[in-house]
């Protein structure tokens, strides 16, 4: 991993800083990652209101320390950020989650002389196990305190699993079929989307349109903001440091690594989702758009297409 430049105090602010290839090898989240994801959104929901987005962003970005922030994987950081916030608010105690975390076998491994590569790989395994263990304890503490039940967590996960970008695709396809809807959508997205009966939660959506001359790409360099209520969970690479860093500096290379080759002369517009808006890309319709029904077209739209990481 090479660094373009890196002041120590804002290590999460990675736009343009890390020159590493996109890792597209992982797909699908592990069960504990889905649980941490669910716990976060449930703690923030209208019923509980235990944590707020901006506090979570702060805990996620400033609380971890540079070395750990850069080392940990996405949901590993989320687990710690939730823990930090809940302790700050007095909802859980530090020992609920932090106690007896030392595996003596692991410590003994670390004392033996190992190569740097072995050490990093062992560290990766330790981080992963530790994150999974802490997530489980965190969940148990929340269930014991009556904040949520396992049944509610499972139901949340199931609802996200079935979403798979469906609501976003409905918006895109309606815009392809209905010029007046598209015009309203591009002007002020929230009221237009609500006419389709879609719940946008707290999100303020901004829709940007791909044309034969313009290609839009969405990123969040500061954390990993994503139009969750429309598209469900993001692809794993979307949350990676490599994507967050390079999308704003080498968008053409990133698109090539994602399998998107744009014709010469197409202008690339990158949108950094840095504050309160969430973005949806309106991809170019397929050439046979007028021959297909809305249901058929919905099957042609992917999550990647709706963030500019694929043509459709």
């Amino acid at each position: 991993m090479a660094f373009f430049c890196y002041p120590v105090e804002r290590y999460h602010d990675v736009g343009g800083r890390i020159d590493a290839p996109l890792d597209l090898s992982r797909s699908g989240y592990e069960p504990w990652e889905k649980e941490i994801d669910a716990i976060h959104f449930m703690l923030a929901d209208a019923k509980r209101r235990r944590i707020f987005l901006e506090e979570f962003r702060r805990a996620l970005t400033l609380q971890l320390g540079r070395e750990r922030y850069l080392r940990l994987d996405f949901y590993e950081r989320w687990a710690i950020a939730i823990e930090v916030l809940l302790v700050e608010k007095g909802l859980i105690s530090p020992v609920d989650v932090g106690s007896s975390g030392f595996d003596l076998n692991v410590l003994q491994h670390q004392r033996a002389p190992v190569s740097a590569e072995d050490a990093a790989s062992k560290q990766r395994v330790t981080d992963r196990q530790e994150a999974e263990r802490r997530s489980m304890l965190l969940k148990q503490a929340l269930i014991e305190r009556g904040v949520m039940t396992q049944h509610e967590i499972d139901a949340f996960i199931a609802s996200v699993d079935t979403k798979e970008g469906g609501d976003g695709a409905k918006v895109v396809v309606r815009a392809w079929k209905d010029a007046a809807f598209k015009k309203a959508l591009l002007k002020d997205a929230n009221p237009a989307i609500r006419t389709l009966g879609i719940d946008l939660g707290f999100m303020h959506i901004c829709v940007v349109e791909n044309t034969s001359a313009i290609h839009n790409l969405i990123v969040c360099t500061l954390c990993s903001c994503y139009p969750r209520y429309l598209l469900g969970r993001p692809p794993i690479w979307y949350k990676s440091l490599a994507y967050r860093s390079r999308a704003v500096r080498q968008p053409k290379d990133i698109l090539r690594e994602l399998g998107v080759t744009l014709p010469d002369g197409v202008q690339i517009r990158v949108h950094d989702s840095s504050a309160d808006l969430r973005y949806l890309v309106l991809p170019l319709p397929p050439p046979d758009v007028s021959d297909l029904t809305e249901t058929e077209l919905i099957g042609r739209v992917t999550c990647e297409g709706m963030i500019g990481a694929a043509l459709r």
Partner: protein, 103 residues
């Protein structure tokens, strides 16, 4: 999206199309201005609305002050001296009003 003039008596300082500079500051607390656009010049793409100041809500302030949020459009080549793409490529970023100054 809340229109700036609707729910608040806040008049945006900057207009669509206006040239602005994003302020540069070394900060140790919670902000939402990415480092790579600090000190850079762009134009106001849109007035995105009025939102509670993330620099306060990040610390749990329930009654954070309302601030105007803009989308600022910059040319990639104005951000990165080594930018290898087209010289018309752009970056849009959301910036709160107090991070902007007229040029």
């Amino acid at each position: 999206m809340s229109h700036p003039s609707a729910a608040h008596d806040i008049v945006p300082r900057f207009a669509v199309g206006q040239t602005v500079r994003i302020r540069s500051a070394q900060v140790f607390t919670h902000i939402r201005t990415p480092w790579y656009v600090m000190g850079k010049v762009g134009t106001v793409e849109r007035v995105a609305g009025v939102f509670p100041d993330a620099e306060q809500t990040g610390y749990g302030h329930a009654n954070a002050r309302p601030v105007v949020l803009y989308r600022i459009q910059l040319l990639m080549q104005d951000i990165w001296t080594d930018y290898e793409g087209s010289d018309t490529d752009t970056l849009d970023v959301e910036i709160y009003e107090h991070w902007l100054e007229a040029v």
